[in-house]
């Protein structure tokens, strides 16, 4: 009814394009997605921004990361750390909930996260992880919450979503080899995989971390597939074989 009234009101004043945009915003609001107070959130995701509703990374929401195989877990942790670093830039703290933690805190620094601003909650089992995650998501002083949860039911994810709608905390649920992939209330579902790194010919050693990012589900957005590299503290989306800005810069410097 409300939408219809808005529609009628808008019909009289604006063009068709504007009406559609206005209605989209209205629907987003009704679905519980509130635009972040500080305008658009850009975590350096460059070309991916078009995939998100309103061209803004959905903060105050639950993101689900699926790692079908054990080797994906490290890539997922790395990519998530890069996102968390962006959220923590304003000085916030992060909580990392897990029952089987493998994160090496000094390794987080490479992805821009200050390891001493991360509180690790090492719970005994999955049930405690769910409880602690919900408590953490309700805590509005946090920048982000990362939780390693294997099985996430619709009910649990709905509870998380309700918690973050109040607190505006961004939650990252890292699911390592989940058994069932039924839909959840999470706003997005991601899948991160390693890609062989690309280096200059003749250069020894592994290059920058390179990942394939698959956004399989995004509410009110456009799923897609991207390749990115983590270079000098930020994501780099340009296809490396085309431009390779970092290497060009390096070549310029070294001659």
């Amino acid at each position: 009814m409300l939408i219809y009234l808005v529609f009628l009101y808008l019909m009289s004043t604006a063009s068709k394009q504007e009406i559609v945009q206005q209605l989209q915003r209205e629907i987003l609001r009704l679905q519980g997605t509130r635009p972040s107070s500080s305008g658009k959130t850009d975590l350096g995701l460059g070309p991916m921004m078009d995939a998100f509703p309103g061209n803004s990374f959905p903060t105050g929401a639950i993101h689900e990361f699926i790692s079908p195989r054990p080797e994906n877990v490290a890539a997922t942790s790395g990519f998530t750390s890069g996102l968390i670093a962006g959220l923590m830039r304003s000085g916030g703290a992060c909580v990392w909930v897990s029952s089987t933690r493998k994160i090496y805190p000094p390794g987080l620094k490479q992805f821009g996260v200050e390891p001493d601003r991360v509180i690790f909650l090492d719970m005994r089992n999955e049930k405690e992880v769910l409880w602690a995650t919900e408590e953490a998501l309700k805590c509005d002083g946090l920048a982000a919450v990362a939780a390693e949860i294997r099985e996430l039911s619709m009910i649990a994810s709905r509870r998380f979503q309700l918690a973050v709608e109040q607190s505006r905390v961004t939650g990252f649920i890292l699911r390592n080899q989940p058994r069932n992939l039924q839909p959840t209330a999470a706003v997005a579902r991601w899948q991160i995989k390693h890609l062989p790194s690309i280096t200059e010919p003749g250069m020894p050693g592994p290059g920058f971390p390179r990942w394939n990012i698959e956004l399989t589900r995004i509410r009110n957005g456009h799923p897609g597939n991207w390749q990115t590299e983590w270079q000098a503290g930020r994501f780099h989306f340009d296809a490396p074989e085309k431009t390779q800005p970092f290497y060009e810069e390096l070549r310029r410097k070294t001659g």
């Binding site: 090496y104 490479q110 992805f111 002083g141 890609l195 062989p196 020894p204």
Partner: protein, 500 residues
């Protein structure tokens, strides 16, 4: 722990104070006087004037006859009380419980304090030397009871340190005046020849009571430790404890919850007024059958936030068994600390680790699952990967060093390195392929070795040569060889972590 008391006696308190303020009076007879019924009466005499026969209560005119050049200074009323209070406050550095002992002394409860100064003798010497250095003529004694310490300080002529349990023996040889009794009773005792305590200590209580009244018996009991004597501390020790009696015994969880809320409200109100917050508290229920049920909580930061404390306690209410019912509830703050007044947020935003919400979250989780759940890491100056960080439970501890990013470090680490089988061309080259848990990982790129030596002052063992390798799929590993190359058949390669 046995109680120990220290009594200080300032023999010439007011004249000492005057002398400190007017050093010109040194080595001269002088008195303090105040008007009384139209004449000047001496209230304090310094030792030089006392030697010439001047005493308190004498008229100034009479004293001038004895010492023609006597200096007479005005006495201000209430000076003694003010001075004693000032000295008592100064003495708080030695013990928290210091009381004013009118008219010329201080009494201190030194139980458990003296060892901090290296024993009672050193403690006593320190106090006496400091006070004498300031210019006060002071005597002191340490004993098991307040009355015994008082008596030995003023009338004792051997050691001022009465060993624990020895006070009765020491007291017996002191004059009856050492009991701090009414001068009238004291003079009657003396007239009867009962000049020493040992002469009356063995008398039947009934006859002492009928002849000399209750006070003498009470003082005797207090001196020998049979009756309690109280110190009124100059700075009262605040006890944050609240009590709630119930008309009817409480048996339901709701009732307990209401009682808890009431107690928390009053306690937090008091804490807020004093600018304090509690770090740990215990909630007790006194049951009808005489048992006590209790539950306690702890917080990471001092707080007086009612809703938060209530949530912490609520988890434990179910564990309290009311049985027939609880009659009285008490709530006591065991550890109290100062809190900075809460600043209202001018803008909403994240405040990092200082955020109250975060410390409340940590409290809730600690109270539910125990303190070993929460981890925070600070950098440590070690290359050895397992020691490159130190765990802390504090949210306020600040990292002294920066995190190092000089060398590649994995994002995932295995708590125990897992053995792998490796094919490596020649001793110090990176491996070409490795097998982990039956899976082959052909290596396409590698970096290393990065040799990390054992810190011999911490532990022995082999050094490690770390390689940062990437396999065909782009998965990146951190593997190492333990020790020097030792031939083909040795298993000395391990997988230690994964890079992002």
């Amino acid at each position: 722990m046995p109680s120990r008391y220290l009594s200080l006696w300032f023999r010439h308190l007011k004249t000492d104070y005057t002398l400190i303020r007017r050093p010109a009076l040194l080595n001269k007879p002088f008195v303090l006087a105040s008007p009384d019924h139209g004449r000047m009466v001496i209230t304090a005499v310094n030792p030089f004037a006392a030697k010439e026969g001047v005493s308190t209560g004498m008229a100034v005119a009479d004293a001038r006859v004895l010492i023609p050049g006597l200096e007479v200074l005005d006495d201000s009323p209430g000076l003694t009380g003010k001075l004693l209070r000032m000295l008592a406050l100064w003495c708080i550095r030695y013990t928290p419980t210091v009381g004013v002992d009118q008219p010329d002394g201080l009494i201190m409860d030194i139980s458990g304090c003296a060892h901090l100064w290296g024993g009672e003798r050193a403690y006593l010497t320190q106090i006496l030397n400091t006070l004498r250095g300031k210019g006060y003529d002071v005597r002191a004694a340490v004993a098991d009871t307040i009355a015994a310490a008082w008596a030995v300080a003023r009338y004792g002529n051997t050691t001022p340190l009465v060993e624990p349990g020895e006070h009765a023996k020491t007291l017996l040889h002191l004059p009856t005046a050492a009991l701090k009794i009414d001068p009238a009773i004291e003079s009657r005792l003396r007239r009867l020849g009962l000049d020493k305590i040992h002469r009356i200590a063995g008398m039947p209580r009934q006859s002492l009571l009928t002849r000399f009244g209750n006070q003498l018996l009470l003082r005797l009991d207090q001196a020998f430790g049979r009756a309690d004597e109280l110190i009124e501390p100059v700075v009262p020790v605040e006890v944050y404890s609240e009590r709630l009696p119930c008309l009817e015994p409480i048996r339901t969880a709701t009732g307990i919850g209401i009682a808890l809320t009431r107690l928390l409200e009053t306690l937090c109100q008091r804490l807020r007024q004093d600018g304090k917050g509690l770090r740990s508290a215990v909630f007790k229920g006194y049951r009808l059958d005489g048992r006590i049920v209790e539950t306690s909580i702890g917080t990471h930061r001092a707080t007086h936030h009612i809703a938060h404390l209530l949530r912490l306690f609520e988890e434990n209410i179910a564990t309290l068994e009311p049985d027939l019912g609880i009659e009285v509830f008490t709530l006591e703050a065991l550890v109290v600390e100062d809190v900075a007044p809460l600043q209202p947020a001018m803008w909403s935003g994240t405040t990092g680790l200082q955020d109250n919400g975060l410390s409340e979250l940590v409290d809730r989780i600690t109270n539910k699952t125990g303190p070993r759940t929460i981890h925070r890491y600070l950098p440590a100056q070690h290359y050895w990967p397992e020691r490159a960080m130190t765990a802390t439970t504090s949210l306020d501890e600040i990292a002294a060093d920066a995190w190092s990013v000089a060398r590649p470090r994995p994002i995932h680490i295995l708590s125990r390195p897992e053995p792998i089988i490796v094919t490596a061309p020649i001793p110090d080259y990176p491996p070409m392929l490795f097998i982990h848990k039956g899976q082959r990982h052909p290596i396409t790129r590698a970096e290393g070795p990065e040799r990390i030596e054992q810190e011999w002052w911490l532990s022995g063992g082999e050094h490690r040569d770390y390689y940062f390798v990437e396999d065909e799929q782009g998965v990146r590993f951190w593997i190492f060889r333990s020790g020097h190359y030792a031939g083909l058949n040795s298993y000395q390669w391990f997988l230690h972590g994964y890079f992002a």
